[in-house]
Symmetry: C2
Amino acid sequence: MRDGVMPADPERAAAMELVHRLREVAVRLELAMGEFARTTGLHGTDVRALIRLLDAERAGVDATPSWLAQQLGMTSQATTAVIHRLEAAGHVERVRSRSDGRSSQLQVSDAAVSLGWQFFGPLLDRLIATTEALTPGEQSLVTDYLTAVTSALDATSGLP
Amino acid sequence: MRDGVMPADPERAAAMELVHRLREVAVRLELAMGEFARTTGLHGTDVRALIRLLDAERAGVDATPSWLAQQLGMTSQATTAVIHRLEAAGHVERVRSRSDGRSSQLQVSDAAVSLGWQFFGPLLDRLIATTEALTPGEQSLVTDYLTAVTSALDATSGLP
DNA sequence: GAGAATAGCTCACTGAGTGAGGTATCTTGC
DNA sequence: GCAAGATACCTCACTCAGTGAGCTATTCTC
């Protein structure tokens, strides 16, 4: 942002610099995802969906279409279309939920996972290397900071 | 990602956790942007464009349509459309370059900037507060780390 | 100054995402 | 036990963002 609108404050300026770097990282990650989408013939949204589904699996959360819609900030119809595309490409499988006949659960295929590793593997290796340059203590400091940032961001997306 | 594909390695696992947090922050930022887009009647891409234009201004870089296209990872035609939309909404002004008659420069209007502050102000305040909870030394540690991460990410997007 | 390269644009088209509305299943109050 | 309402997901018709093809104007190169 055009920082001049805010009063000059050296302490705040340093913090602001950090926030800008954070945003810059987000932008680059977005671009990398877009590139993955292009090379795989998927769409940006499809890739975002895949990533969220894998996140859900990691976290042990049941990924339903409506859950995914919320994660993507999209309508349920658009999410239905995303799931269709991913299903047609063999990246996702839809499994009818046993406890709730209306609902279904989404599972990412092994093929999609290995495709992801193929593309993001080298990138991830560099990120891991960058991260392991820090001491364990420094790493947990950064991790805690990022967790706090996530909470701060969450407070916004909870708007009505 | 489904980490099980990779061999278990506690050191790597800790670094991986950090990378996941980083990605999580990126996802939340993206959602916040989408929400800003919805409340202002803009599109996600338009907001991303505005942010990149403000970044360029901050960095003292000349923002041309082709530069913007590269930043957004989009074709020049799509970028032309984005600029048209932003221009029509009064958020951006197109100024013919004096040094190169083919090119033009893009400037974000004051109105767009204050609109951005209005929405992102509270969010930014929370982020700044989160950041200022760190000591100056810790802040610069995180800043340096994020800079390194940006470089690591850049090495990917430079694919042919 | 001719030819190649570059910056940006218009046009026609595809398809991602939305609003309206439908079906099947689950929940609740009687 | 069943009607009324809520919920989860889906289809249909439509809009408009983004793409490919191809154009014009300007600048660079020899």
